[in-house]
């Protein structure tokens, strides 16, 4: 009797969470797979049927403006630029904060603020700051630098740069905090030994800091890449849904537009599946490659 109870206990604990997961994750996932093989749209909302891989074909080959490949390319630029800046700024600030300086905790608190504010507020605030006439960015450019104002939100390239600036601003504190945690766990003795050997600052950074920081940063970077790749809030709210003329989408916002702007449900579901596989393949290879570093933990 007792023995049976003991075996049942974990199932009892898991059951509520499992039921919720089946209802809100697994079932919708299967439904999404079915949708991606169907012709469902607002017009065929009730009389939809399975039509095979047509929607996937459309994702890759249907001529559309912007095309899947353009958006995919932009997503990669978006992810790489953002994460690179996040890591470089984050690690640099963490190294500065790791010195013996006064007011450390004040700086730390101020620098963490962009991460603490709700993302949608950050996005909407920066949208205001990028306003052509009254936004403070253009005011500063014209007042202090004496340069002509920039049409931030009205032309595709500038709008894309504006979103990237916003996202860099809100993303560096995460990397900074992670890197600071990593730096604090590096023993001073390494640096002292290096000093005795007469190592330069660059040599110390290259041969002590980087290798010892790597195991901490790699999982954070993996997470950062997935989050950035998937971040619809910032791009959607800063560009007000892909303005101008759907030229500023990344893949996730492009799906959102196909589903809730154009009501092409089957197509949006197929596109989602494609993005999912891209992320899955990336994560699996990245995690496998960092397996070696993980054993260092």
């Amino acid at each position: 009797m007792l023995e049976r109870n003991r075996k049942l206990f974990p199932y009892v604990l898991i059951l509520p969470a499992a039921l919720v997961m089946i209802g809100v994750v697994f079932y919708p996932f299967i439904f999404n797979v079915i949708l991606s093989l169907s012709n469902m749209s607002l017009r065929n909302f009730r009389e939809w049927q399975i039509i095979g891989f047509d929607q996937y074909y459309k994702v890759f080959f249907e001529p559309s403006e912007p095309s899947f490949y353009t958006v995919f390319f932009k997503t990669i630029i978006w992810t790489v630029v953002n994460v690179t800046f996040h890591v470089v700024i984050g690690v640099m600030l963490a190294m500065l904060l790791n010195r013996q300086i006064k007011g450390k905790s004040v700086f730390r608190t101020l620098l963490i603020l962009p991460w603490a504010i709700p993302q949608y507020i950050v996005a909407l605030t920066w949208r205001g700051m990028f306003n052509y006439e009254y936004g403070s960015i253009n005011l500063m450019i014209t007042h202090y630098l004496g340069l002509p104002a920039v049409e931030w939100l009205r032309s595709p390239t500038e709008a894309f740069i504006a979103v990237i600036i916003t996202n860099i601003w809100l993303g560096f504190p995460f990397m900074m905090v992670i890197a600071l945690g990593g730096l604090q766990s590096i023993s001073h003795e390494y640096y002292e030994a290096a000093d005795i050997d007469g190592a330069s600052a660059w040599q110390k950074f290259r041969n002590i800091t980087v290798p010892l920081l790597r195991p901490v940063m790699i999982p954070a970077i993996t997470l950062g890449i997935i989050w950035t790749f998937n971040n619809i809030n910032v791009i959607w709210l800063v560009t007000n849904g892909g303005e101008p003329a759907d030229q500023t989408h990344i893949l996730v916002s492009y799906v959102y537009r196909a589903a809730f702007g154009l009501y092409r449900y089957g197509y949006a579901a197929a596109l989602s599946m494609v993005i999912f596989f891209i992320l899955l393949i990336f994560s699996l290879t990245f995690m496998k490659r960092s397996q070696a570093t993980r054993s260092a933990y």
Partner: protein
């Protein structure tokens, strides 16, 4: 020789301060900007002045927000939704995480792996099928609808975090409690759960933030003004930049301050939870 080393250190310190100050200003500036706009009188919203505290500062926007707009209603809606998502999320994750951490059972690895895979779902992938399900179930325009969707975003991460934390608590404590005659559930509830308080706090903060600051889902599911949560309401203020920018600014400060304080107080735990979850993943 010693002097030059000292000078070098001084120079390095000065540069360090300079960079830190520049970045601190960049980090704080947009927030001051919002403060500034919230204090402007309504006829001077579109000002080209760069002063932080405007000359004729007024609290009119705050007053209008509380008395003339459904701001308090949206806040109540947001609190209600966040509260339900947080409490169910924490309860379910605390139990499921414990099972994953302590027991061997059929389907355990499959369960853990599928939780991890959900983190690679594109943000919009579950939204579309769930939206269609909600339409068919008649749950569009209800709080239950958004609550269901939010629980799917937060739960997997919460279960992983709880499991990671339980793994660091020694099982010998429960064994001792069991020898003293505690039931399995009592040893979990009375011995392990209190020790896992830091993880519970992280999980609660995370679930709360996912629902408190979510725009994309709420904008599709909640259509009546009276049902809006704060993000949807604030977005409409921002959209009417010429007339309601001050309201937007005032509202976003009020919405952010409690979250920011909470976040700063808990940021240390949050980071350890994040790295723990991902490293063990």
């Amino acid at each position: 020789m010693r002097n030059s080393a000292k000078f070098k250190k001084r120079l390095a310190d000065t540069i360090a301060y300079l960079i830190l100050i520049i970045f601190a200003v960049i980090a704080v500036y947009p927030i001051l900007q919002v403060l500034s706009i919230s204090l402007r009188p309504a006829d001077r919203l579109l000002s080209t002045s760069l002063a932080i505290i405007p000359d004729d500062a007024t609290l009119a926007a705050y007053q209008e927000l509380f008395t003339g707009r459904p701001f308090l209603l949206w806040m109540r809606n947001s609190i209600l939704v966040s509260f339900v998502v947080t409490s169910t999320g924490v309860a379910l994750a605390a139990m499921a995480g414990y099972a994953f951490s302590r027991f061997k059972f059929r389907g355990k690895n499959f369960g853990l792996l599928s939780l991890l895979v959900t983190q690679m779902f594109p943000a919009t992938m579950l939204l579309l099928p769930m939206y269609i399900m909600l339409v068919k179930l008649g749950l569009i325009n209800t709080f239950l609808g958004v609550i269901i969707i939010y629980s799917s975003t937060a739960l997997p991460f919460c279960i992983w975090t709880m499991k990671g934390y339980y793994d660091t608590i020694s099982p010998s404590l429960e064994e001792a409690a069991r020898i003293d005659g505690c039931t399995q559930f009592a040893s979990f509830y009375k011995v392990v759960l209190p020790l896992a308080a830091p993880a519970l706090v992280i999980v609660a903060l995370f679930s709360f933030m996912t629902s408190w600051a979510e725009y994309v889902v709420a904008a599709q599911v909640l259509q009546d003004t009276g049902l809006w949560t704060l993000p949807v309401g604030l977005q409409t203020f921002q959209a009417n930049m010429s007339t309601e920018w001050g309201l937007y600014a005032a509202a976003s400060l009020i919405v952010s301050i409690p979250v920011v304080i909470l976040f700063l107080a808990l940021s240390k735990f949050l980071v350890s939870g994040l790295t723990l979850g991902s490293v063990k993943g």
